[in-house]
């Protein structure tokens, strides 16, 4: 398997580590924001545990730890292993970025 790092070009997947589905977003809540603990826990439960586990194209996190140490978001087909796109995480490098979800 070869992964086209947007910064380094196409590389062996041995240089990368896989984290999984990039769709779930970390719930963003203010401490004592008045949310009921139940609802906050539900939101985190969903974020941490539940997966669509797509058979087809899914967005997923890869880390180019054996290279430029950038976190990447890839679109890959889980049936054919074919990569459709690979882009950098919002905060890779020094680019100005807003917090995910904001």
């Amino acid at each position: 398997m070869r992964i086209a790092c947007p910064f380094c070009g196409e590389r062996e997947n041995g240089e990368f580590t896989y984290l999984g589905d990039a769709s779930p977003k970390r719930p963003n809540f203010a401490v004592d924001g008045g949310e009921s603990p139940e609802r906050v826990e539900d939101a985190f439960y969903d974020y941490v545990y539940l997966r669509d586990n797509v058979a087809g194209v899914m967005r997923e996190y890869w880390y180019h730890g054996g290279g430029c140490r950038s976190w990447l978001v890839a679109e890959r087909n889980t049936i054919t292993h074919e990569f459709i796109s690979v882009t950098a995480a919002p905060g890779a490098g020094a680019a100005l970025a807003v917090r995910a979800g904001e």
Binding site: M1, N13, G14, G20, D21, Y45, Y49, N53, E60, T80
Partner: protein, 417 residues
Amino acid sequence: MKYSIFSLAKAALSGHKGWTRAWRDPAPKSRYDVVIIGGGGHGLATAYFLAREYGIRNVAVLEKGWIGSGNAGRNTTIIRSNYGLPGNVGFYELSMKLWERMEQDLNYNTMVSQRGIINLYHSDAQRDAFARRGNTMRINGIDAELLDAVQIRKELPFLNYDNPRFPIMGGLLQRRAGTARHDAVVWGYARAANDRGVDIIQNCEVTGFVRDANGKVIGVETTRGRIDAGKVGMAVAGSSSRVAAMAGLRLPIESHVLQAFVSEAIKPLIPGVITFGAGHFYVSQSDKGGLVFGGDLDGYNSYAQRGNLPVMEDVCEGGMAIMPMIGRVRMLRQWGGIMDMSMDGSPIIDKSPVDGLYLNAGWCYGGFKATPASGLVFAHLLARDEPHPEAALFRLDRFRRGAMIDEKGQGAQPNLH
């Protein structure tokens, strides 16, 4: 038709013309009390136990391809009950006990071979973890022995004890563990379930669920038409998320590919099962003579049933580290199976949030060894609507409650379990 050396000899005289189908090939009926999705070991065992233990015979097992075409026919055939956490310990021991009488129960030689499994350790920390686990096993009445390097040498004299990297310090041995002929397990359960009236329907893919006004599942849509059911149980590890999605469910499961390998047949070399503790490699030798071995997951979500080179290399590196004499033995075949990797590495056997739909999923790579117990406890759940005592902790809501059963302590990262 009863199988025995006598029936075999008798058949020989007639040139084996007398043998009949091991299981019927019926057309699906319009309704069954229980429909089980998935004609793998678990689904067929569930049907068998429903008929044998719970008197429910109006059962259909629906298989989208040929029975055993999923992980039942793709695993490395290891059976063991060397687990360390409540929930797993009792369940896998129940399974081991069922393995021990399977051939007589099924009148089918599934070649259950208790030649033992040795998990090698290479550090004090590993030894301590094995000691904790082995003691858990013993406290639960399961056989376990902690061997030091000298004792290991007696059991496995051919290992490389001079390896300067991660030398072998000892191992955890379960003598009752071993292997079984995976396809035979499928065929044996199919034949035995069939003999008790179960319909095994191949080339019948489920395409959706039939729900009533309250959302209760009352049947399935299939490529061979609608089939109504009192209850629907899914035993489709590898595709659990896909099937559950038809009922609008999201599961704490990811599908990952696990590769397995077999070498050319050679004369007997390895007695039982060996697992390497400082790398990803485990091996046994089949009765046909092939070394059956494997290692770690490829590590990314996949439904492709095939893996890539880095893992092959990693596994063979592990093999050469402890058995450098297999360097000239050739790898014959490589294949991949799709694992239902759950978020804590342990299975889920529970009612689903959808009325009428029952889950048997999340087997990770523990599925084959669990086959008989999985069938029994799932049959219990389907028949009684309450979990079997030995499966009481395999609940779906354990993640929400924080009651994970995490043997490896890796947390919610399926590819690390």
